[in-house]
Subunit: 466 residues, 2 copies
């Protein structure tokens, strides 16, 4: 008999006794020596069999006191398995539904590309490469600011958008969201006022709520925030901070104009407020939009980015490019609240950015999005959903629904059919966007999705208020 | 000529022109077609050469406008390269020095094992395995609570320490520190009082400072917190929270006794306070210590853990086991402040925990630590550093220095010789531990380290106050 077969025989025998309740949860298993004797195998065979049973969770071990039968799994909470139909449509509604493990039919409401659009082969290659990396890279904490080579590369990449930031001004984080969170911790006190766009990325609302600050929405136009209203809000609320996306605005896909950028920075100067420019969609751009951080020279604008949208959302890596004087304190805050950064993720991103395939990959993404965007727009128009603008790039279509139809109602109906949508009000601090919906054109390929959407729209229209 | 050689020839030619300043930073490169013609190579050769030059940062590309020479690197800040000798010895002092990229001689002050002690081969194997995983795992966000299989495994592992937590009560985080941070966000308001041990893990101070709360230190004894003083502090300050390590206390290596655990939980009940039990050293234990979470049944105790100390600090993965009623809100907070968790890291940890080698690995670690602990203790005693207790497990020796010698002074002198130490007061809210030092016995192998320490002790003794 092969050693492997002997090991399996021992494992099968233990499993049998557990199944027959001869060994109950918590019961101690026979000692290695005793079982080896009883089954006429070597002790190393039993040790290996026990190890494998420990590994698959059938049995447990306590240091110094041998092996015992593992308890039955405690039941999962239902919230863990099912999409939550009853949850209020709050800023976290879309995130929670879209991130959930439950296999849904489609997620036109999510903010990322399908897995099949990501650079799968390059990721696998980079991982095989890292499996051969230095031990320290595999096991040690990252340095406080993060992998130097990646920060140097980011410095060059930012320069391509006109943002001058030395590697000493760039700190790596585990995500774009963590980057904004650290900046909020650094800049805000509870009760401070913060301006956001109305509509804006819904997680800004959730994040700012966690910081216990007052959120002031300023309407967004196709070329940036409405400046007279921005000025009025600045005077009225004395905000400390403004958070925005300049290049490809989420959810509207609008694009800041140079003249708005310039005037906005003058208003910020007058009001003494800081601006966080969230530039995570930078690489989807087809024509370079003005960057606040480029105009301002990282003086009162701080820029954040990540690679979740173009490389992998599973490998977490973001960054902050900040005024040099802030870096020390931001690094302290990162260590205090997350200790080291993700060394391994940073190395993986570095490898993916330098293996020569990244530029081709994002070019292909841009072409693919440019191809599906007009198709999706046409299909949506045909069922009465009218795009607010014609986006120049990116994945989002911000659409007005047919008159009187409530987007939250449509989203709840679609979720019951396993389709996750992003109703307008999750993006809106004024709750004035109930007739809007954000569609991710990369997630609308299946005809079934359109059918669910059409049905949900019709049902919601039947129930609209007179 | 091989295609590879032709590509390199094109790359060399561009580099030469840049070096000779024929192409200056910002200048546009020849078009692909023009250069191919001029160098008598195919256009695909030039495209590949340009791609590689983009990848290594020599040139940049702008969508739609071709290639250009990259700018020179902005200078690093000095803080980025050198250990900061002038930095005040505050709670973040040790973290910053120990995490720094600068190659130091030794880090007896750090809180982790040397890279060479980590399961390098298993890590490489797990990574190669993941390079073959499902696309979704490589590219998608994690589910809100994190990888279900890992949470199920953690549920079983916790049961081995008597902690009953279903997978639905366990939420994955990116680190043990993030786990505590999220709990603080959930439980605390600025101005609240929080009890910590005196001494305690220095990062608790840094983290709590970021939450703007009042920190109350209660002296730690070899069997747990000093209960009469704990009771007094509870009455006087009405704390909301107590943060501690039960099993292998950091920095003292003390171990909570069952009687102290029981009385402590009664005091917590009376005072209505929550306890965070940080159990990240669990797998170093040789004899099972009582767990507060086990006695309490995850009612007012919440437990956190991670794998940074036993598997890899580069692959970030921690968790929270909490009362079921808290899980929904904690998950919302995690999404608001970090969006998805590290899907990839969780999968890597799951693979390492289930491949059968983990138990052997941690057993080997325990044996190795048990072997070096008495050696380090003897050497430290021989130079006048006396262990406070004889630890039963783990990596820390908490030592009293020779009379009148200031640990901060010794640490600064050692740092000038590239040795990072952990002076007592970084652990102490009362600043009463200036004559103590925490030594990590796994990081003291080199005779040179002992020489630096001995010299620093002697110099500090010469300068002690009369």
């Amino acid at each position: 008999m092969q050693p492997g077969t002997r090991i399996e025989k021992v494992m099968a025998s233990i499993r049998q006794r557990i199944a027959a309740r001869n060994l109950v949860p918590g019961a101690r298993l026979p000692s290695v020596r005793a079982l080896a004797k009883a089954m006429q195998v070597s002790t190393s065979t039993v040790v290996e069999a026990y190890d494998r049973l420990v590994a698959d969770g059938t049995i447990g071990s306590r240091p110094g006191s041998g092996f015992f039968v593992a308890g039955p799994l405690a039941p999962l909470s239902l919230a863990d398995i099912e999409p939550r139909l009853d949850r209020a449509v709050d800023p976290l509604w879309v995130s929670r539904q879209a991130l959930d493990e439950a296999s849904v039919l489609a997620k036109p409401g999510c903010g990322w590309l399908p897995a099949s659009w990501m650079p799968e082969e390059a990721l696998r290659r980079a991982m095989r490469g890292l499996a051969r990396a230095d031990t320290a890279l595999l096991t040690d904490y990252a340095s406080p600011m993060g992998l130097l080579q990646l920060r140097q590369l980011l410095s060059r990449r930012l320069a391509e958008h006109g943002v001058q930031a030395g590697a000493g001004q760039i700190m790596l984080t585990d995500s774009g969201t963590q980057a904004i969170d650290l900046l909020c911790r650094f800049l805000l006190q509870p009760g401070d006022a913060v301006i956001v766009d109305d509509p804006c990325y819904f997680n800004f609302h959730a994040l700012l709520r966690a910081h216990r600050v007052r959120v002031i929405g300023v309407p967004y136009t196709p070329t940036g925030p409405d400046l007279p209203l921005f000025e009025q809000a600045s005077k009225e609320h004395q905000p400390r901070l403004y958070i925005t996306n300049s290049a490809i605005h989420n959810p509207t896909s609008a694009r800041l104009s140079a003249v708005t950028a310039h005037r906005l920075l003058m208003l910020a100067e007058q009001a003494g407020l800081t601006i966080i420019e969230d530039d995570i969609f930078a690489d989807f751009e087809t024509q370079a939009a003005p960057r606040l951080a480029a105009f301002d020279g990282l003086n009162r604008v701080v820029q954040i980015g990540s690679f979740s949208k173009t490389l992998s959302a599973s490998v977490r890596c973001g960054f902050i490019a900040a005024p040099l004087a802030w870096v020390e304190a931001l690094t302290d805050l990162k260590i205090a609240t997350a200790f080291g950064g993700a060394h391994f993720s940073a190395a993986l991103v570095l490898s993916l950015l330098t293996d020569g395939s990244y530029r081709k990959h994002v070019e292909a993404l841009r072409l693919r999005l440019a191809a599906v965007m007009p198709q999706a727009a046409a299909r949506l128009k045909s069922i009465g959903c009218v795009p607010w603008i014609e986006p120049q790039a990116g994945m989002f279509l911000w659409c007005r629904l047919p008159d009187g139809v409530d987007a939250g109602d449509v989203a709840r109906r679609a979720l019951a059919q396993q389709v996750v949508l992003a109703p307008g009000n999750v993006f809106s601090s004024s709750q004035n966007a109930s007739s809007f919906m954000r569609f991710n054109v990369s997630q609308m390929g299946s005809p079934q999705t359109m059918t669910v959407l059409e049905d949900a729209l019709r049902e919601a229209a039947d129930h609209r208020l007179p």
